[in-house]
């Protein structure tokens, strides 16, 4: 209870409030612009947090994450161009309402549903993160290694593109994680020059893969044409009767979103689509879905914002990110000298509780900014694409340099920018690469520590029940789809050659 009070007590300083508001505003902007997204936003904002107090930095980044997930709904509703993938179901009904002249109603429903999703899931996070961390404290190195591996395999299974591409992405990330001096023996590995001894710098890799690759895609799409902006009321409102009618779908979707957000790799996109699908299936008026159903908007938005908190649960309690964006948040924690995982609750309890408090405090602010700023966000959607590409490019160059006050990170970022572009063109997913890069050290350290503790006995991975279950799960992640592929290949009709 003291730690909870300490978490909320962090908001006694003006700096934290400023960080929260800045994170929310930038998050809305990032989410509203198609192509940017919370992962890119957090990667871009990390360099700005180098000199900040860790609590302020994390509050700003979490606020950005929360607001960006909502911000994607703005363009989804107004322009049928979702700012984030999780807002796609929102666009099906939101844009239909805009065409009927009810854009304000759609926006109001989306922001209120998002608010409810964040609040519900923040409460669930507070109730589940601590027990989860206490269970994790009992884990040994073998269990941790197996857990990290299982998380990576699940991400590869669920991520976009083929399963083989997911596996390749994981191995690439793990290979990149081994660059630099070995933590336990000090032996330099895969380091052609001393620049590589500290390993690949994380922030420039993230900036390159997410931000610079997106700049190249924006260049490819060319200049954006003049978009008509909706004229919205200064303050969005929603009738109480409508709110009452939507309360059950919002609560149900929040629970679904949180549960799916906890699963590594599932994230906000799957939560949003799954919740929309379930809502349509059990609705009394399924024919309204896709034609302007408020229930559809509410289900999608409540779930995708609830998944934000859901993804924080394994991140804080286990040190395993629940999503690609979560992996970047882990990078932010590490940059500020914090190691996510169960020990965070004992060594730096103010950090996880400040993060949880920021969800409770940030949600009402997010609601106010969203309801009061509808017209402003509508204008944001009209920003020319070429200007956004230029701005992101300049921030990346300076941000990468600022990470180490050296040019090496800038070169790394540019290389990964081109690699990220090629990977995205060929549908090789980036989230497994980032997750493996971040989890690779944890996986290797615990893998080797388990052997040292067992004095070189490999059976340590086969005798513990939890480790066995996790390792079998890893095998099934690939064996299952491989078996399905073999069966479908053998079921293809054979060509019969008649004599």
């Amino acid at each position: 209870m003291d730690a909870v009070i300490a978490g909320f007590g962090s908001f006694g300083t003006l700096g934290i409030w400023i960080a929260l508001v800045i994170g929310l505003i930038i998050g809305y902007f990032i989410g509203a612009v198609p192509g940017l997204g919370p992962s890119l936003g957090i990667a871009l904002l990390i360099p700005f947090t180098y000199g900040m107090d860790p609590r302020s930095a994390l509050v700003m980044l979490i606020a950005l994450y929360m607001a960006a997930e909502y911000g994607g709904a703005i363009t989804a509703i107004l322009l049928n161009s979702p700012g984030t993938a999780a807002a796609v179901p929102t666009s099906w009904d939101g844009y239909a309402l805009t065409r009927k002249g009810k854009a304000e109603l759609a926006l109001a429903v989306s922001i209120i549903s998002s608010f409810a999703g964040v609040l519900t899931s923040a409460l669930l996070l507070m109730l589940t993160a601590v027990p989860l961390s206490e269970v994790a404290l009992k884990f040994g190195p073998a269990q941790y290694a197996a857990l990290a591996l299982a998380g990576l395999c699940l991400v590869a299974l669920i991520s976009e593109g083929s399963m083989v591409k997911g596996l390749v992405a994981i191995t690439l990330g793990l290979a990149l994680a081994t660059v630099g001096m070995d933590v336990q023996t000090g032996v330099p590995r895969f380091s052609p020059s001393p620049d590589f001894f500290e390993g690949l710098p994380l922030v420039p890799v993230l900036l390159g893969l997410y931000a610079l690759s997106e700049v190249l895609f924006m260049i490819s799409e060319g200049p954006s044409g003049k978009k008509p902006t909706e004229h919205l009321a200064r303050m969005l409102t929603l009738p109480l009767s409508t709110l009452r009618r939507l309360s059950a779908p919002i609560l149900r979707s929040s629970l679904i979103g949180y549960a799916l957000g906890v699963i590594p790799g599932a994230g906000t996109v799957i939560a949003s689509f799954a919740s929309y699908g379930i809502a349509k299936r059990i609705s009394k008026t399924p024919e309204d879905f896709g034609n302007g159903s408020l229930e559809g908007i509410a289900s999608s938005e409540a779930a995708n914002n609830a998944a934000v908190s859901g993804s924080l649960a394994p991140l804080l309690a286990l040190g395993i990110p629940g999503s690609g964006t979560g992996a970047i948040l882990i990078g932010a924690l590490m940059i500020h000298g914090l190691q996510p995982g169960p020990l965070l609750f004992t060594r730096n309890p103010e950090i996880p509780y400040t993060i949880m408090a920021s969800l409770f405090v940030g949600a009402p602010l997010m609601l106010l900014v969203g309801l009061g700023g509808g017209g402003l966000w509508a204008r944001v959607t009209a920003l020319p694409r070429q200007v956004i590409a230029t701005a992101v490019f300049l921030v990346c160059i300076v941000g990468a340099y600022a990470s180490e006050n050296a040019m090496f990170p800038v070169y790394v970022m540019c290389a990964f920018g081109v690699i990220g572009y090629i990977f995205r063109l060929l549908q090789i997913p980036l989230a497994p690469v980032v997750l493996s890069l971040i989890l690779g050290e944890m996986l290797e350290v615990n893998f080797r520590r388990a052997f040292v503790q067992a004095r070189g006995d490999m059976s340590v991975y086969l005798t513990d029940p939890l480790t066995m279950i996790l390792l079998v799960g890893c095998v099934l992640c690939f064996a299952g789809p491989a078996w399905s592929w073999l069966r479908s290949a053998s079921a293809r009709p054979r060509v019969r050659h008649d004599p």
Binding site: K165, E221, G225, L394, V410
Partner: protein, 172 residues
Amino acid sequence: MSDKALKPEAHAPSGEPRNGITLEVRTRLPDLVVAAAILAAFVAYTIAALRIPAPYTNDDVGPGAFPLMVAVFGVLGSLGLAVGPLLGMIRGTPQDTVIINRYPQVFAAALLLMLGAVLFDRIGAVASLVPLGLAMLWLGGERRVMQLIIVPVALAAGVYAAFAYGLDVPLP
């Protein structure tokens, strides 16, 4: 690439009409090329991993064990990546297509990234950010003269001020 075609005026994912030269690429050959490149990288990685010193004690697997395990899966994965396109070639199945709109500008932008990295340190932040911003804006398709002057100057000034004065980051 033998399967390339130049097609103007195809539609962008956003629904806006495309402008500029479009490169339509059948993905089988690029998939094979990328698979081969990743395979070559993992073979080199394996060779480097084999050169890592052995462990000092029998209890530890040493700094080379984990990279070797990663290398094995990496080689297998990249071989798996090549299997799909190869099978497709043998069976003659239809290929996926990737459309790269304005590909000369994309290529130039990729080169601009490298140039930016070189110039930033050599001629300084202020002297490099404005022309880099101008070049990127022009590659992005902006042709209005006032925007080409004002936007890069404003963006460069804003980014420089935010880092140099707001965050006290010493820039070259």
